[in-house]
């Protein structure tokens, strides 16, 4: 693997920095969140225009065939600006599942439309009692005629209320915690028997509980092999965890920057807070945690495209544990060093803290993945 960014990656970074600095500052984000959808359709169209939605998709389906590292470069920028659009749900999770396991018809119908910005996806693999275990699936899919009937409850499905198609995990065979017998289905959120209970999330995104009560889907809506869903889910989620980590690393960088700036301008006892050595050292600890997480993150991103199975899983678990720990430390310290101002909604720093905290809980927190890192060896 390479430890230097390619020219293309540097260009992508620069153009993303430029676009987001211009269009996605803290006030713009605030206005977007207050809008009807909680994210911006205009911004989504711009992302399509910039080629960001096509970035990782296969070239034969309207994509740019980008690598996980390319995508991490973009996600890091999204982290710096706390982008709230359904990029993770649509591109990183949903489109990746289709690209990996979908039929030719599914790919042709969905991927070019995702790249153009016309179709959004959501990926529902959580369940209320499963906590962070991807194989614990109680939602059932029973054969009925030429198709399937789905019943159950998918929990905290990110951006489900923005999605044109849902990709959901259901059990077609076996007991609740069997690794075999899990199948992915494409589900129309408007179909009979689908109920969405949407809500904003603590960190300014959107999520929903997806309730399924006898939802009919056809055989053509099965994504990948019947009963063979888990390896697909694990591959998609491993990569998504690395990319969430890249987003978190971007948020860390911005948090450290904001906190450093604040300490330079905040005067107490007749001098800027940044002149106190005890506070300088704490800033250095934060910066250091960010640097190490950044380095490990891009190594893990490289591993997503070059390894499979246990090796890939261990790389993903490792970076997720590392960013969970670093994000918590940096977030908590940034608030403490800001003092009362850090507690206020008007300061950006609290919003970064909330996003980093919620990234830790998505797909398993630091403790969960540290244990996996230990046992996967």
């Amino acid at each position: 693997m390479s430890f230097a960014f390619t020219e293309d990656q540097q260009l992508l970074a620069e153009s993303a920095d430029r676009f987001l600095a211009d269009k996605y500052d803290f006030d713009a984000r605030k206005a977007i969140r207050r809008g009807e959808d909680g994210w911006s359709r205009e911004m989504w169209a711009a992302f399509a225009e910039l080629g960001w939605l096509a970035l990782p998709l296969p070239e034969e389906h309207g994509g740019l065939g980008g690598s996980t590292v390319d995508l991490a470069v973009l996600m890091e920028r999204f982290g710096r600006h706390l982008v709230v659009e359904p990029f993770l749900a649509t591109v990183v999770l949903g489109a990746e599942a289709i690209a990996r396991a979908g039929s030719d018809e599914q790919k042709a119908a969905i991927l070019p439309a995702v790249a153009e910005g016309g179709v959004r996806l959501a990926f529902g693999v959580n369940e209320p009692r499963a906590r962070f275990d991807l194989h614990r699936v109680a939602t059932t899919a029973a054969r009925e005629g030429g198709g399937w009937t789905l019943s159950g409850h998918k929990a905290v499905v990110l951006h489900a209320d923005a999605a044109d198609r849902l990709i959901l995990a259901a059990r077609t065979a076996g007991a609740e915690d069997d690794r075999d017998g899990i199948t992915l289905f494409l589900v129309d959120p408007q179909a009979d028997g689908v109920t969405l209970r949407p809500y904003p999330t603590v960190d300014g995104l959107r999520g929903a509980e997806v309730l399924l009560d006898g939802v009919s889907v056809s055989e053509a809506d099965v994504v990948g092999g019947v009963g063979a869903g888990l390896p697909v889910i694990e591959a998609v989620v491993d990569r998504a965890m690395v990319l969430l980590s890249a987003e978190s690393v971007g948020a860390m960088a911005e948090t450290v920057r904001l906190t450093t700036e604040y300490l330079k301008t905040r005067v107490q006892f007749g001098q800027p807070l940044s002149s106190f050595q005890v506070l300088q050292h704490r800033l250095v600890e934060m910066l250091q945690a960010k640097e190490f997480a950044h380095a490990l993150c891009y190594r893990a991103a490289g591993a997503m495209d070059t390894t499979e199975g246990v090796e890939r899983a261990r790389a993903a678990a490792g970076i997720k544990a590392e960013t969970g720990r670093a994000g918590k430390m940096i977030g908590q310290e940034s608030i403490q060093l800001h003092g009362g101002m850090g507690m206020t909604d008007e300061m950006a720093v609290g919003h970064y803290f909330k996003r980093m905290t919620m990234i830790d809980t998505q797909f398993g927190n630091a403790a969960h993945h540290l244990r996996r890192f230990a046992t996967l060896a």
Binding site: F132, V202, Q268, F269, Q336, G340, D345, T357, T361, Q362
Partner: protein, 399 residues
């Protein structure tokens, strides 16, 4: 490691328990423990019940309507109230300004304010911090200029907790710009209904509104509202900060929260077994419990020293640091316990008592992330934990 109580103290505990069982309104019980926000009326209702019983002022001397309890009795009372889910006392009147009025106020001030504090007739708030004066409180700039038998006050106070409910604010103001900064500060009691007082809420990152900016524009405050001497306000404030810190350990509440954390960890599943059986999580709870036990042990030691006639010394700073760290870790573990269900933001489910729709996820999960973010304040307020370390370095280590 339960405390071994003397027969007298055990009898007292039973008496407190019986009282709480009989008098604590069920709608208030556990409301605060489960994260549902309490309103002004809830607090006042409970404090008036305690007043009726003669138990609202555990820290006051008997002559002013206090209980005359021993240190251990006070501790037992706090413990039992927290365990029963009673609303916490609003500290600004009972625990903060009242001791200052008793120690430094004149007879007229004692007669006027103390009975009203005792009956919860007035809601007090604390006007200390300013936008430019946080940790460096002595740099405060709110100015009080003498005009006949009034002071004319101009300036801005900030982080003023629950000022939106307040009738009165005790305030540090600058009455002189010459000499040492600390010697130009006076302690004024300001009627919040005075013309020129404006309260503006500050939304915190968890979405709640409990702190405020208080703007003071040409507010006329009678000179008779000054506590003690002009220019001695800093001395009185330091006296008060000592009082604030012993209460800030909050061991009773933390013990109740620890119990709740364990209940949540017993209910939540991880890897097919209750989370509380997860070795990592169990260890973190155990460490937290040990921290809480050592905290409580030091609290009791300080309370006994106080009984022996020693005021709360610099060791109170240890209690503030450890007490707030324990409170914050409790909120952190509770949030972690619910996994992905920390994410939905549904403030109406825990802020609006009339709300009866089910939240996404288990009902205890909805407020946990907000509570976690909200409690980051604890290591900042009441003299930040960095300032507490400065105090210890100076006063204990002699550095």
């Amino acid at each position: 490691m339960e405390l071994v109580l003397s027969p007298e103290d055990e009898a007292f505990r039973q008496e407190v328990r019986a009282f709480l069982k009989e008098k604590l309104p069920p709608d208030l019980a556990n409301q605060s423990a489960t994260g549902l926000r309490l309103g002004k009326d809830d607090h006042v209702r409970w404090q008036k019940i305690l007043y009726e019983k003669g138990w609202v002022a555990a820290n006051w001397p008997v002559e002013h309507g206090g209980t005359g309890w021993t240190a251990m009795q006070k501790h037992i009372f706090e413990d039992e109230c927290a365990a029963a889910g009673a609303p916490p006392l609003i500290p600004f009147g009972l625990l903060m300004v009242a001791p200052v009025i008793m120690a430094f106020g004149n007879q007229a001030q004692k007669d006027r304010y103390l009975p009203r504090i005792l009956r919860s007739d007035d809601w007090w708030c604390q006007g200390y911090s300013e936008p430019g004066s946080g940790s460096d409180l002595a740099s405060l700039r709110t100015k009080a200029v003498r005009d006949g038998d009034h002071y004319v006050v101009n300036g801005q106070k900030t982080w003023t907790t629950l000022a939106q409910h307040a009738d009165m604010m005790f305030t540090l103001v600058r009455t002189s710009d010459t000499g040492k900064r600390q010697e130009g500060i006076s302690f004024l009691l300001i009627d919040m209904r005075s013309p020129g007082v404006t309260v503006q809420p500050i939304t915190t990152m968890d979405g709640s509104q409990e702190i405020n900016s208080v703007f003071l524009d040409d507010v006329r405050v009678p000179v008779e509202n000054r506590i003690g001497e002009e220019g001695k306000g800093w001395t009185y404030a330091k006296y008060l900060l000592g009082h604030e810190r012993t209460g800030i350990a909050g061991t009773g509440r933390s013990k109740a929260q620890l119990k709740r954390l364990k209940e949540i960890a017993r209910t939540e599943m991880s890897g097919g077994q209750p989370l509380i059986e997860d070795p990592d999580f169990a260890q973190r709870i155990a460490q937290l419990e040990l921290d809480l036990l050592s905290l409580e042990s030091l609290v009791l030691r300080v309370l006994y020293a106080e009984k022996a006639g020693k005021g709360p010394g610099p060791e109170a700073s240890f209690l503030k640091i450890k007490g707030t760290e324990v409170q914050q870790m409790l909120t952190e573990l509770m949030m972690e316990a619910v996994g992905p269900y920390a994410m939905p933001f549904q403030p109406e489910t825990f802020r609006d008592p009339q709300w009866n729709e089910e939240p996404a996820g288990p009902d205890y999960a909805a407020p946990l992330a907000s509570v976690y973010f909200n409690w980051r304040k604890a290591s900042i307020y009441g003299g930040s934990n960095e300032i507490q370390r400065n105090i210890i370095a100076k006063a204990v280590l002699g550095l």
